[in-house]
Amino acid sequence: MSNPARTARSKGRWWHIGVTSVVLAVLIIPLLATFLFSISTVWQNTILPDGLTLEWYGRLFSDERFLYAIGRSFLVSAVTVVISLAIMVPAIFVVVLYFPGLEKMLQSVVLLPFALPGVVTAVGLIKIYSSGPIAISGTIWILIGAYFIVIMPYVYQSTRNSLRSIHAAQLMEAAEVLGAGKVKAFVFVILPNIMPGMMVASLLSFSILFSEFVLANMLVGGSYEVVQVYLHRMLATDGHMSSAIVFTFFVIISLLFALVLRIGRGKSRKMNATSATPADNEGGVTA
C-alpha cells in the first residue's frame, strides 16, 4: 500500500467525520438550547444562563392545564389511530386480495393527503361543519375526522406492505382449504401476522398526530386544547415553561420512535424463511 493512497483515504475519512459532526451539531443545537433554557433560572441577556433549576419541570407537571392538554392529545391521537386501523385494515385487505382492480384508485386516494396540508383541508372542513345539521366544529369529533385522513397514507402503506410480505393470499387459501371461512381466516391467520406492521404504523401515526398543530388550532383551538395549542399560547407568556414543554414533547416523541425501532427489529427476525422459495435454500432471506 503506497502512502499517497493511504493519506488520501484517511483525508477522505476526516472529511466525512467532519461533515457528519457538523450536520449533527446543527440538528442538535436548537434542542440542546431548549433543554438548557428549561433548566435555567434566569437567562435573559446573557449568552449562557445564570443558574440551573428543575423548578420549571416541577411546575409543568403539576399544572393542571398542561396535564389536561397532554391527556387530550393522547386521547385524540389514540382514538383516531384505533378507529383508523379498525376501518382501514379490513378495507385494504379486501381490496388488495379480492378487488385488485380497485387498488390503483385506492392508492391515488390515500396519497391525496400529501397534497392537502392542514390549512387546506381546514378550509373545507370549517365551511361544512361550522354550522348546519352536523356542527361538530370545535369538538373532538371533527378533529378525529380530519386526523383520520392525515394518517391515511401511513396506515395504507404499512398495511399493504405487511400483507405483501406475509403472502396473505397464500395464507388465506391454505386456511380456507383447512376449513376456515374468510372471516375466521382473517382473524386467526392474517391479523396476528400483520400485527408488527400495524404497531409500527400506529406509533408512527400517533407521533404525527401528537405533533400536529394547524388542524388542532384551526378546527378546535381553545375548545379542545391539545398540547401543541397549549404550547402556542404559552409561548408569548412564559418562556421557561414553554421550553420545558418543548423538551418534554421531544422526549415523548423519541420514546415512541425507540418503540418503533424495537418492534421493527423483532419483526424482521420472525419474517425470515416462513415461506419457502428457492432463494431461501441458498441462504438468502426473503421479506
Binding site: 477522505g12 472529511w15 466525512h16 461533515v19 457528519t20 450536520v23 449533527l24 446543527v26 440538528l27 443545537i29 436548537p30 434542542l31 438550547a33 431548549t34 433554557f37 441577556n45 446573557t46 449568552i47 376501518i87 382501514m88 379490513p90 378495507a91 385487505f93 379486501v94 381490496v95 378487488f99 386516494v109 396519497l111 400529501f114 392537502l116 396540508p117 392542514g118 390549512v119 387546506v120 378550509v123 373545507g124 372542513l125 370549517i126 365551511k127 361544512i128 375526522g145 380530519a146 385522513i149 374468510k182 407521533s207 405533533s211 398543530f213 394547524v214 388550532n217 384551526m218 401543541q228 404550547l231 402556542h232 409561548l235 414553554s242 414543554i245 421531544f250 416523541i253 423519541s254 420512535f257
Partner: protein
Amino acid sequence: MLLVLVPFVFWLIAFLALPFAGMLISSFQHADGQGFTFAQYVKALTHPLYTQSLLNSVWLSFVSSLVGLVIAVFASYSFTRFSAKTRDVLLNISNIFNNFSGVPLAFAFMIILGTNGMFTLLFDKLGMGFLNFDLRSLKGLIVVYTYFQIPLAILLVYPSLYAIREEWKESAALLGASTWQFWRYIGVPVLLPSLVGTFSVLFANAMGALATAYALTVRNVNLLTIQINSLVTGDVFPRQELGSALAVVLFVILLIALFINEKMLQLVRKGS
C-alpha cells in the same frame, strides 16, 4: 365483502370529499356565498398582497428545499462511508428530528437566534454582529425551514446514495476519472431522478407548512398558508371564498409537485 369498504368510503366522503367539494364550490362564489364567479381567483392571482404571498412562499420553499437537499446529500453520502452500525445510529438520530418542527421548533429557534438569542448575543460579542438577522422575517424563516427540511431530505435521499456502488467508483478510477469527473458523469446523472423527486417533496412540504411560520411571525411575514389561515379563521371578517380560492391554488401547486415526484420515482424504478 364489499360491505367492509363502507365505513371507509363513508369516512372518505365525510372528511375528504365533502370538505374538498365545499372548498371548491366556495372558491367560485361571491363574497356573500352565492352565485358563480371567477372573481375570487382573479383577486387571488392579481391582488398584490396575495401575489406577494405566493411569491414569498415559492421563494421560501425553493431556497429551503435546495439548501436542505444539498446539505442532505453531503450528509447522506458521508453517512454511507461508515460501518453498518454507525450508519444505523446516524439515520435513527436524523429520523427523530423529523418530528421536530412546527411550534416547538419555532420556539427553539427563538432561543438561539431570537432577539436575545444565544447565538445572536454570541455573534455580537465576538464582533460578528453582521451574521445576525431578524428571525421574524422571510430570511429568518428560510433558516428555520431549511432546518426542518434536512432530516426529511436525508430520509428520502439516503437510499439512492447508498446505491452508488463502490465498484462504480473503482471502475471509473481505473479508467482514469478523477473524483470530480466521476460525480459529474456518473454519480450525479444516476442520482438525478431521485434528487429531483426529493426536491419536489421538500418543496411541497415547505409550501404547505404553516405551524412554524405561524408561531414565529404570524402577521409579519406574508406567506400563502398564513393568508389562507387569516382569511378562513378571520380575525376581522372571515372571507372564506377568497381563502378557498387561495387554498385551491396551493393544492394545485402541491399536486404538480407530487406528480413530478411520482414521475421521477418511475424513472428510478426503471433504471435499477
